[in-house]
Symmetry: C2
Subunit: 161 residues, 2 copies
Amino acid sequence: MQVKPKPYAIQMLPIGCVVGGRREATKKDGWGNNRCTLVLDPTRFGPDALSGLAALSHLQVLFYFHVEAEEPEEVGARHPRGRTDWPCVGIFAQRGRMRPNRIGTSYCRILAVRGTEIDVVGLDAVDGSPLLDLKPVWEEYLPGGELRQPDWSHELMALYW
Amino acid sequence: MQVKPKPYAIQMLPIGCVVGGRREATKKDGWGNNRCTLVLDPTRFGPDALSGLAALSHLQVLFYFHVEAEEPEEVGARHPRGRTDWPCVGIFAQRGRMRPNRIGTSYCRILAVRGTEIDVVGLDAVDGSPLLDLKPVWEEYLPGGELRQPDWSHELMALYW
Protein backbone atom coordinates (compact mmCIF):
# COMPACT_ATOMS: atom_id res chain seq x y z
CA MET A 1 0.00 0.00 0.00
CA GLN A 2 1.37 3.41 -0.96
CA VAL A 3 -0.15 5.40 1.89
CA LYS A 4 2.18 6.00 4.82
CA PRO A 5 0.45 6.84 8.08
CA LYS A 6 1.87 9.94 9.74
CA PRO A 7 1.19 9.48 13.43
CA TYR A 8 1.04 12.53 15.65
CA ALA A 9 0.93 12.56 19.44
CA ILE A 10 -2.50 12.83 21.03
CA GLN A 11 -2.92 14.24 24.51
CA MET A 12 -5.53 12.59 26.70
CA LEU A 13 -6.85 13.64 30.07
CA PRO A 14 -8.30 10.93 32.29
CA ILE A 15 -11.97 11.45 33.11
CA GLY A 16 -11.51 10.03 36.60
CA CYS A 17 -10.10 6.92 38.21
CA VAL A 18 -10.82 3.51 39.69
CA VAL A 19 -11.17 3.60 43.47
CA GLY A 20 -11.08 0.47 45.61
CA GLY A 21 -10.99 -3.17 44.66
CA ARG A 22 -7.84 -5.10 43.91
CA ARG A 23 -4.60 -3.25 44.54
CA GLU A 24 -1.91 -5.42 43.03
CA ALA A 25 -1.42 -5.90 39.31
CA THR A 26 0.68 -9.04 39.73
CA LYS A 27 -2.27 -11.39 40.22
CA LYS A 28 -3.72 -11.96 36.78
CA ASP A 29 -6.75 -14.17 37.42
CA GLY A 30 -9.96 -14.17 39.44
CA TRP A 31 -11.34 -10.74 38.52
CA GLY A 32 -15.02 -11.76 38.36
CA ASN A 33 -15.87 -10.65 41.90
CA ASN A 34 -13.70 -7.55 41.96
CA ARG A 35 -15.79 -4.64 43.19
CA CYS A 36 -14.68 -1.07 42.76
CA THR A 37 -16.00 2.43 42.18
CA LEU A 38 -15.48 4.52 39.07
CA VAL A 39 -15.07 8.11 40.26
CA LEU A 40 -15.36 10.91 37.70
CA ASP A 41 -13.21 14.03 38.02
CA PRO A 42 -15.63 16.32 39.92
CA THR A 43 -13.98 19.43 38.50
CA ARG A 44 -15.06 18.51 34.97
CA PHE A 45 -18.18 16.37 35.27
CA GLY A 46 -21.51 16.54 37.00
CA PRO A 47 -24.13 13.84 37.52
CA ASP A 48 -25.65 14.66 34.10
CA ALA A 49 -22.65 12.98 32.42
CA LEU A 50 -23.98 9.69 33.82
CA SER A 51 -27.70 10.26 33.37
CA GLY A 52 -29.38 7.28 31.71
CA LEU A 53 -26.70 4.87 32.93
CA ALA A 54 -29.14 3.19 35.29
CA ALA A 55 -31.01 1.77 32.26
CA LEU A 56 -27.95 -0.35 31.46
CA SER A 57 -26.74 -3.60 32.95
CA HIS A 58 -23.17 -3.39 31.64
CA LEU A 59 -20.56 -0.74 31.08
CA GLN A 60 -17.53 -0.73 28.80
CA VAL A 61 -14.59 0.82 30.60
CA LEU A 62 -11.47 2.18 28.93
CA PHE A 63 -8.61 2.70 31.34
CA TYR A 64 -4.88 3.28 31.37
CA PHE A 65 -2.47 0.56 32.50
CA HIS A 66 -0.61 2.93 34.80
CA VAL A 67 1.37 0.33 36.77
CA GLU A 68 4.94 0.20 35.45
CA ALA A 69 3.95 2.72 32.80
CA GLU A 70 7.57 3.83 32.54
CA GLU A 71 8.68 0.40 31.31
CA PRO A 72 9.21 0.00 27.57
CA GLU A 73 6.19 -1.03 25.59
CA GLU A 74 6.18 -4.30 23.72
CA VAL A 75 6.03 -3.94 19.97
CA GLY A 76 6.82 -7.43 18.68
CA ALA A 77 5.90 -11.00 19.54
CA ARG A 78 6.22 -12.97 22.79
CA HIS A 79 4.72 -15.93 24.61
CA PRO A 80 1.61 -14.74 26.49
CA ARG A 81 2.34 -14.78 30.23
CA GLY A 82 5.76 -16.23 29.39
CA ARG A 83 4.14 -19.60 28.74
CA THR A 84 6.50 -21.25 26.27
CA ASP A 85 3.95 -24.04 25.73
CA TRP A 86 1.75 -21.39 24.13
CA PRO A 87 2.72 -19.88 20.77
CA CYS A 88 4.77 -16.74 20.42
CA VAL A 89 2.26 -14.16 19.16
CA GLY A 90 2.34 -10.47 18.34
CA ILE A 91 1.33 -7.86 20.88
CA PHE A 92 -1.83 -7.09 18.86
CA ALA A 93 -2.89 -10.76 18.94
CA GLN A 94 -2.82 -10.79 22.74
CA ARG A 95 -4.16 -8.56 25.50
CA GLY A 96 -1.05 -7.96 27.65
CA ARG A 97 -0.83 -4.61 29.41
CA MET A 98 2.66 -3.57 28.22
CA ARG A 99 1.12 -2.78 24.83
CA PRO A 100 1.50 0.45 22.85
CA ASN A 101 -0.59 3.24 24.43
CA ARG A 102 -1.44 0.90 27.35
CA ILE A 103 -5.19 1.15 26.97
CA GLY A 104 -7.26 -1.51 28.70
CA THR A 105 -10.86 -2.06 27.63
CA SER A 106 -13.21 -4.29 29.59
CA TYR A 107 -16.81 -4.92 30.37
CA CYS A 108 -18.25 -4.89 33.88
CA ARG A 109 -21.61 -4.91 35.58
CA ILE A 110 -23.17 -1.74 36.95
CA LEU A 111 -24.24 -2.10 40.58
CA ALA A 112 -25.22 1.48 41.42
CA VAL A 113 -24.89 5.03 40.11
CA ARG A 114 -24.51 7.82 42.68
CA GLY A 115 -23.86 11.33 41.44
CA THR A 116 -20.53 11.15 39.61
CA GLU A 117 -19.64 7.67 40.92
CA ILE A 118 -20.48 4.21 39.67
CA ASP A 119 -20.14 1.01 41.68
CA VAL A 120 -19.23 -1.90 39.42
CA VAL A 121 -18.29 -5.56 39.70
CA GLY A 122 -16.04 -7.63 37.48
CA LEU A 123 -13.67 -4.93 36.26
CA ASP A 124 -10.08 -6.12 35.74
CA ALA A 125 -8.45 -2.79 36.63
CA VAL A 126 -6.59 -2.09 39.86
CA ASP A 127 -7.25 0.65 42.39
CA GLY A 128 -6.00 3.98 41.07
CA SER A 129 -6.21 3.17 37.36
CA PRO A 130 -6.91 6.34 35.35
CA LEU A 131 -10.17 6.17 33.40
CA LEU A 132 -10.15 7.24 29.75
CA ASP A 133 -13.77 6.62 28.77
CA LEU A 134 -16.99 4.86 29.71
CA LYS A 135 -19.40 3.57 27.08
CA PRO A 136 -22.80 1.88 27.23
CA VAL A 137 -22.88 -1.80 26.28
CA TRP A 138 -25.40 -2.48 23.53
CA GLU A 139 -25.79 -5.96 22.10
CA GLU A 140 -25.75 -4.61 18.53
CA TYR A 141 -22.25 -3.33 19.18
CA LEU A 142 -20.83 -6.73 20.11
CA PRO A 143 -19.02 -8.80 17.46
CA GLY A 144 -21.37 -10.26 14.85
CA GLY A 145 -21.21 -13.80 13.52
CA GLU A 146 -19.24 -16.76 14.76
CA LEU A 147 -16.02 -16.11 16.67
CA ARG A 148 -12.81 -17.98 16.00
CA GLN A 149 -9.94 -17.78 18.46
CA PRO A 150 -6.87 -19.91 19.26
CA ASP A 151 -6.95 -22.71 21.83
CA TRP A 152 -4.31 -21.09 24.05
CA SER A 153 -6.62 -18.10 24.58
CA HIS A 154 -9.28 -20.38 26.08
CA GLU A 155 -6.63 -21.79 28.43
CA LEU A 156 -5.48 -18.31 29.39
CA MET A 157 -9.02 -17.16 30.13
CA ALA A 158 -10.11 -20.31 32.01
CA LEU A 159 -9.49 -18.79 35.47
CA TYR A 160 -9.56 -15.13 34.48
CA TRP A 161 -12.98 -14.26 35.84
CA MET B 1 -16.37 8.98 48.59
CA GLN B 2 -13.39 10.82 50.07
CA VAL B 3 -10.85 10.00 47.36
CA LYS B 4 -10.38 12.70 44.75
CA PRO B 5 -8.93 11.49 41.48
CA LYS B 6 -5.96 13.56 40.31
CA PRO B 7 -5.95 13.27 36.54
CA TYR B 8 -2.73 13.86 34.69
CA ALA B 9 -2.30 14.17 30.94
CA ILE B 10 -1.29 11.03 29.07
CA GLN B 11 0.50 11.24 25.76
CA MET B 12 -0.46 8.65 23.16
CA LEU B 13 1.13 7.92 19.82
CA PRO B 14 -1.06 6.28 17.17
CA ILE B 15 0.18 2.87 16.08
CA GLY B 16 -0.96 3.50 12.50
CA CYS B 17 -4.11 4.54 10.71
CA VAL B 18 -7.18 3.45 8.80
CA VAL B 19 -6.68 3.54 5.04
CA GLY B 20 -9.55 3.35 2.58
CA GLY B 21 -13.22 2.73 3.10
CA ARG B 22 -15.73 5.41 3.92
CA ARG B 23 -14.44 8.98 3.83
CA GLU B 24 -17.19 11.09 5.31
CA ALA B 25 -18.10 11.06 8.99
CA THR B 26 -21.49 12.63 8.41
CA LYS B 27 -23.26 9.41 7.38
CA LYS B 28 -23.88 7.52 10.58
CA ASP B 29 -25.44 4.25 9.42
CA GLY B 30 -24.69 1.34 7.12
CA TRP B 31 -21.17 0.44 8.28
CA GLY B 32 -21.53 -3.33 7.98
CA ASN B 33 -19.96 -3.61 4.53
CA ASN B 34 -17.30 -0.95 5.01
CA ARG B 35 -13.95 -2.40 3.92
CA CYS B 36 -10.70 -0.76 4.87
CA THR B 37 -7.09 -1.54 5.71
CA LEU B 38 -5.43 -1.03 9.08
CA VAL B 39 -1.89 0.10 8.34
CA LEU B 40 0.67 -0.02 11.16
CA ASP B 41 3.37 2.64 11.40
CA PRO B 42 6.21 0.87 9.53
CA THR B 43 8.86 2.84 11.45
CA ARG B 44 7.81 1.23 14.75
CA PHE B 45 6.29 -2.14 13.91
CA GLY B 46 7.20 -5.19 11.90
CA PRO B 47 5.06 -8.14 10.83
CA ASP B 48 5.82 -9.88 14.16
CA ALA B 49 3.48 -7.41 15.91
CA LEU B 50 0.62 -9.10 14.04
CA SER B 51 1.79 -12.71 14.20
CA GLY B 52 -0.97 -15.03 15.33
CA LEU B 53 -3.70 -12.68 14.13
CA ALA B 54 -4.70 -15.07 11.36
CA ALA B 55 -6.04 -17.47 14.03
CA LEU B 56 -8.73 -14.91 14.87
CA SER B 57 -12.00 -14.09 13.13
CA HIS B 58 -12.53 -10.71 14.79
CA LEU B 59 -10.44 -7.78 15.90
CA GLN B 60 -11.18 -5.07 18.45
CA VAL B 61 -10.02 -1.72 17.12
CA LEU B 62 -9.39 1.38 19.22
CA PHE B 63 -9.16 4.53 17.17
CA TYR B 64 -9.24 8.28 17.55
CA PHE B 65 -12.22 10.33 16.36
CA HIS B 66 -10.01 12.81 14.52
CA VAL B 67 -12.71 14.54 12.46
CA GLU B 68 -13.60 17.88 14.10
CA ALA B 69 -11.20 17.01 16.91
CA GLU B 70 -10.77 20.73 17.61
CA GLU B 71 -14.46 21.08 18.56
CA PRO B 72 -15.30 21.13 22.26
CA GLU B 73 -15.95 17.77 23.82
CA GLU B 74 -19.33 17.01 25.30
CA VAL B 75 -19.31 16.50 29.05
CA GLY B 76 -22.97 16.54 30.01
CA ALA B 77 -26.24 15.15 28.66
CA ARG B 78 -27.91 15.52 25.26
CA HIS B 79 -30.38 13.79 22.99
CA PRO B 80 -28.49 11.14 20.96
CA ARG B 81 -28.31 12.28 17.33
CA GLY B 82 -30.40 15.29 18.32
CA ARG B 83 -33.49 13.08 18.44
CA THR B 84 -35.75 14.83 20.90
CA ASP B 85 -38.08 11.82 20.88
CA TRP B 86 -35.26 9.91 22.56
CA PRO B 87 -34.26 10.72 26.15
CA CYS B 88 -31.57 13.22 27.05
CA VAL B 89 -28.73 11.04 28.34
CA GLY B 90 -25.19 11.61 29.58
CA ILE B 91 -22.24 11.35 27.25
CA PHE B 92 -21.13 8.17 29.05
CA ALA B 93 -24.51 6.54 28.45
CA GLN B 94 -24.21 7.01 24.69
CA ARG B 95 -21.51 6.39 22.09
CA GLY B 96 -21.27 9.78 20.34
CA ARG B 97 -17.86 10.75 18.99
CA MET B 98 -17.57 14.20 20.61
CA ARG B 99 -16.84 12.42 23.91
CA PRO B 100 -13.94 13.10 26.27
CA ASN B 101 -10.70 11.71 24.81
CA ARG B 102 -12.55 10.82 21.58
CA ILE B 103 -11.69 7.13 21.63
CA GLY B 104 -13.77 4.85 19.44
CA THR B 105 -13.78 1.13 20.10
CA SER B 106 -15.36 -1.32 17.68
CA TYR B 107 -15.28 -4.88 16.48
CA CYS B 108 -14.67 -5.88 12.90
CA ARG B 109 -13.93 -9.00 10.86
CA ILE B 110 -10.42 -9.84 9.73
CA LEU B 111 -10.24 -10.55 6.00
CA ALA B 112 -6.47 -10.82 5.47
CA VAL B 113 -3.18 -10.04 7.20
CA ARG B 114 -0.25 -8.93 5.00
CA GLY B 115 2.94 -7.85 6.71
CA THR B 116 1.99 -4.84 8.81
CA GLU B 117 -1.42 -4.38 7.21
CA ILE B 118 -4.81 -5.92 7.97
CA ASP B 119 -7.81 -5.87 5.66
CA VAL B 120 -11.04 -5.72 7.65
CA VAL B 121 -14.75 -5.37 7.05
CA GLY B 122 -17.41 -3.75 9.24
CA LEU B 123 -15.28 -1.13 10.97
CA ASP B 124 -17.13 2.13 11.67
CA ALA B 125 -14.07 4.38 11.33
CA VAL B 126 -13.41 6.69 8.39
CA ASP B 127 -10.37 6.76 6.13
CA GLY B 128 -7.44 8.38 7.94
CA SER B 129 -8.55 7.63 11.50
CA PRO B 130 -5.50 7.25 13.77
CA LEU B 131 -5.29 3.79 15.37
CA LEU B 132 -4.59 3.59 19.10
CA ASP B 133 -4.65 -0.17 19.66
CA LEU B 134 -5.72 -3.52 18.23
CA LYS B 135 -6.82 -6.39 20.46
CA PRO B 136 -7.86 -9.98 19.78
CA VAL B 137 -11.54 -10.77 20.31
CA TRP B 138 -12.03 -13.67 22.72
CA GLU B 139 -15.51 -14.77 23.69
CA GLU B 140 -14.53 -14.91 27.37
CA TYR B 141 -13.82 -11.20 27.22
CA LEU B 142 -17.31 -10.26 26.05
CA PRO B 143 -19.90 -9.15 28.60
CA GLY B 144 -21.18 -11.95 30.80
CA GLY B 145 -24.81 -12.54 31.74
CA GLU B 146 -27.92 -10.95 30.36
CA LEU B 147 -27.66 -7.48 28.85
CA ARG B 148 -30.13 -4.72 29.61
CA GLN B 149 -30.21 -1.60 27.46
CA PRO B 150 -32.75 1.15 26.74
CA ASP B 151 -35.24 0.89 23.87
CA TRP B 152 -33.90 4.00 22.10
CA SER B 153 -30.52 2.29 21.69
CA HIS B 154 -32.14 -0.52 19.70
CA GLU B 155 -33.78 2.09 17.47
CA LEU B 156 -30.47 3.93 17.02
CA MET B 157 -28.67 0.72 16.08
CA ALA B 158 -31.37 -0.65 13.76
CA LEU B 159 -29.66 0.59 10.58
CA TYR B 160 -26.16 1.00 11.96
CA TRP B 161 -24.57 -2.05 10.36
